[in-house]
């Protein structure tokens, strides 16, 4: 089954639309009962989107949802609790895409706003553009971030990337922002470009920075160099301030001294 949702223009309104109902599973029983929220107003799916459905499916794995339109950046919570199937966003997507996701694939052709894949437990998110702040992070209160699955960003990532990450793999092909992997507990974080203050206060897990780690936290202990996938990387253990035993591998680093 292929569901195409083409977003109608909103005439200048920037009020976000909460669309946690947009997950493959929802479409198994038609589109009539699906609603989304613009601010405090509940709207039928067809008030916001032109809908076209091709084919049939009995299980979420056989559903692909395609989201199109110029204002898809206003859509929040798309793919929340998704457990199978596929969502493809042809443009940009709003905050909280793939929250609590446990299976399936979300592919975003444009940029993703904050909290992409927050508290995600499984599945795959591919973002062809940039991801904003708190990608693959946890929720306020220091809860665990992503615990499983994969998030791959082909552009840059914002601040607080993979905060509190506790499992799974996060790959950023461009640069990452400040405080990447802060409070990391477990899992793997790979940044191909530069980032600032990586894995501050980390407890465990592994972080790779193939560019330069700026303003490196001074409480990581250098223990040598290692060869990793053809690169020579400097290996640190930390965060000592937090009795941490995580591994940080960087190609290059600078302290704020």
């Amino acid at each position: 089954m292929k569901v195409t949702l083409t977003m109608k223009p909103a005439g200048g309104s920037f009020i976000p639309i909460e669309a946690e109902s947009i997950i493959p599973k929802s479409f198994l029983s038609g589109t009539d009962d699906i609603s989304v929220w613009r601010g405090n107003r509940e709207l039928g799916l067809s008030e916001v989107f032109s809908i076209s459905v091709e084919g049939k499916a009995d299980r979420p794995e056989d559903v692909e949802v395609i989201i199109a339109g110029d204002e898809t950046f206003r859509l929040k919570r798309v793919g929340e609790y998704m457990d199978g199937g596929k969502i493809t966003v042809l443009g940009d997507i709003g905050m909280h895409c793939g929250n609590f996701m446990s299976g399936g694939t979300i592919e975003i052709q444009g940029n993703a706003d904050g909290w992409l894949g927050r508290e995600m437990a499984g599945g795959t998110i591919l973002c062809r553009g940039d991801a904003a702040n708190y990608c693959a992070s946890g929720y306020r209160g220091g809860r665990k971030g992503m615990t499983g699955g994969t998030v791959e960003i082909f552009g840059r990532a914002g601040a607080f990337l993979a905060e509190n990450v506790a499992g799974g793999t996060v790959i950023v092909h461009g640069d990452a922002g400040d405080m990447a992997g802060a409070e990391m507990r477990d899992g793997t974080l790979i940044v191909h470009g530069d980032c600032s203050r990586p894995v501050a206060n980390m407890k465990g897990g592994s972080c790779y920075v193939f560019g330069t780690a700026h303003a490196l936290i001074p409480t990581f202990k250098k223990i040598g160099t290692v060869r990793h996938e053809g690169r020579m990387l400097i290996h640190f253990i930390g965060d000592i301030a937090n009795r941490g035993k995580g591994n940080l591998f960087v190609k290059d680093y600078r302290y704020l001294d």
Binding site: E18, N40, W115, Y134, T219, I240, A241
Partner: protein, 427 residues
């Protein structure tokens, strides 16, 4: 007439030992207050009556009309923002929460641009704190980190720390050490026993280094950290460990710099670490008057201290998404009610550009910068001068403010209650 034990309505210290001399409904003299408090208590230039923007002119309207306008505005909005609240009393804040719930709007207070990051940090690691009197009576070491009380909380030093004798410190000036940590040599730094000057943006690194040193891992620290020598870091760590009772007071120097709440988290974790060695507490230098009260009220009413979005009926909290600056800058609200604050003076310009585009109602005694963006402004009594109610001090101690004199102005609570009543009828 002299009124004693007045509670100062300016900053989060809520000094309650102020004496004012009143003539009619004017304060003619103030004793015990700092310059900031005295100016506020003697302030004049109130707005006389509600005003409505009519094209490029202002016209006077009645309270009834103004309240009806606000009620209609909030009821018809899809995502109204109810912002401010630090300049008013708890009773009004409670009505505000009920209104936000009813119209399914977003309610946020000024802590999102002062100590909101501190709250986010506390939510991650907790908060070892105490009331101000505990510090006054016991602390032999006080650290001001990224805070400058001489300018922002002028009586903090004399009432609670530097010059304040206490039960276990008969001569505080002699027996209590003060350390100032800042990126610039502030007035407060000039009176400190030790000044640790940090490169801008370096607080986090310095805090991490101190934590490692307190844990006995000084050897792994580089020679200098963000402009501070390892020797000084070790000296400061030792001063902390050797203190019988240490108290950290941090300010916007930590909350407003890069990393925001991570700086505070690190400071709290340092203090927690120090508690394995001695007694240490940490507290935020809450700025505006009853801002801490707005956090308290929001918390018991909604579960969250600020940045609460009721659009979906239930309370949703996510600072960075549900906070005023973000919502305004991203044009994500379609009406605003402002109470007890002045966002136009304190928010970045992009936020003001959106305020100019949407209907705005403000409750404030004075014409202020936000007035320019209002469709309606409703003048109210000043909480702590001609209205009374509950305010929470920066350390969580609730105090009932005194009314110094009476005026015709309704209080925030009265105006909001009338709005709420209308909204319940229509909503």
């Amino acid at each position: 007439m002299i009124v004693k034990d007045v509670v100062c309505p300016f900053c989060g210290c809520l000094c309650d030992d102020i004496e004012v001399e009143v003539e009619g409904n004017r304060v003619v003299a103030v004793a015990n207050a700092c310059e900031l408090g005295a100016t506020k208590l003697t302030g004049e230039r109130r707005m006389k009556n509600p005003i409505l923007r009519d094209g490029d002119a202002w016209k006077d309207i009645s309270y009834d009309e103004a309240i009806r306008y606000a009620s209609d505005m909030l009821l018809s909005a899809e995502r109204p923002l109810l912002y401010g609240w630090s300049g008013t009393h708890g009773e009004a804040q409670c009505v505000g929460v009920h209104m936000a719930e009813l119209v399914r709007g977003v309610i946020d207070n000024t802590s999102s641009v002062c100590h909101g990051p501190s709250i986010l940090a506390i939510q991650e690691v907790g908060h070892p704190g105490c009331t101000l009197g505990v510090v006054k009576n016991r602390a032999d070491l006080v650290i001001y980190w990224g805070s400058n009380p001489i300018d922002a909380h002028p009586r903090h030093l004399s009432r609670y720390t530097y010059y304040a004798d206490g039960f276990f410190l008969e001569n505080a000036f002699r027996d209590r050490k003060v350390i100032v940590v800042d990126i610039r040599k502030t007035e407060t730094a000039n009176v400190a026993d030790e000044f640790m000057q940090i490169q801008p943006g370096g607080d986090y690194a310095v805090l991490s280094a101190l934590r490692a040193i307190v844990r006995g891992r000084a050897e792994s620290i580089p020679q200098t950290v963000a402009g501070v020598t390892r020797e000084q870091l070790i000296r400061v760590a030792n001063l902390c460990k050797e203190a019988k009772f240490g108290a950290v007071y941090f300010g916007l120097g930590l909350t407003m710099t890069q990393g925001k709440y991570k700086n505070i988290r690190n400071a709290i974790e340092l203090v927690t670490e120090l508690n394995r060695h001695t007694k240490f507490t940490i507290s935020a230098m809450r700025g505006h008057y009853n801002v801490y009260g707005s956090n308290e009220v929001n918390t018991w009413m909604t579960g969250y201290p600020f940045g609460i979005d009721f659009s979906r009926g239930i309370a949703f909290y996510n600072p960075g998404e549900t906070t005023a600056v973000d919502i305004l800058a991203r044009k994500e609200c379609d009406a605003a009610l402002i109470v007890g604050s002045d966002p136009a003076a304190h928010f970045p310009r992009r936020c003001l550009e959106h305020l100019a585009d949407i209907p705005v109602v403000q409750l404030d005694p004075y014409p202020n910068a936000t007035t320019a963006f209002c469709n309606v402004q409703i003048p109210v009594a000043v909480t702590g001068i001609d209205a009374e109610g509950t305010a929470y001090r920066m350390d969580g101690v609730p105090i009932r403010t005194r009314k110094i004199f009476s005026t015709e102005y309704p209080s925030d609570e009265e105006v909001l209650s009338r709005m709420y009543a209308l909204m319940q009828e229509d909503g």
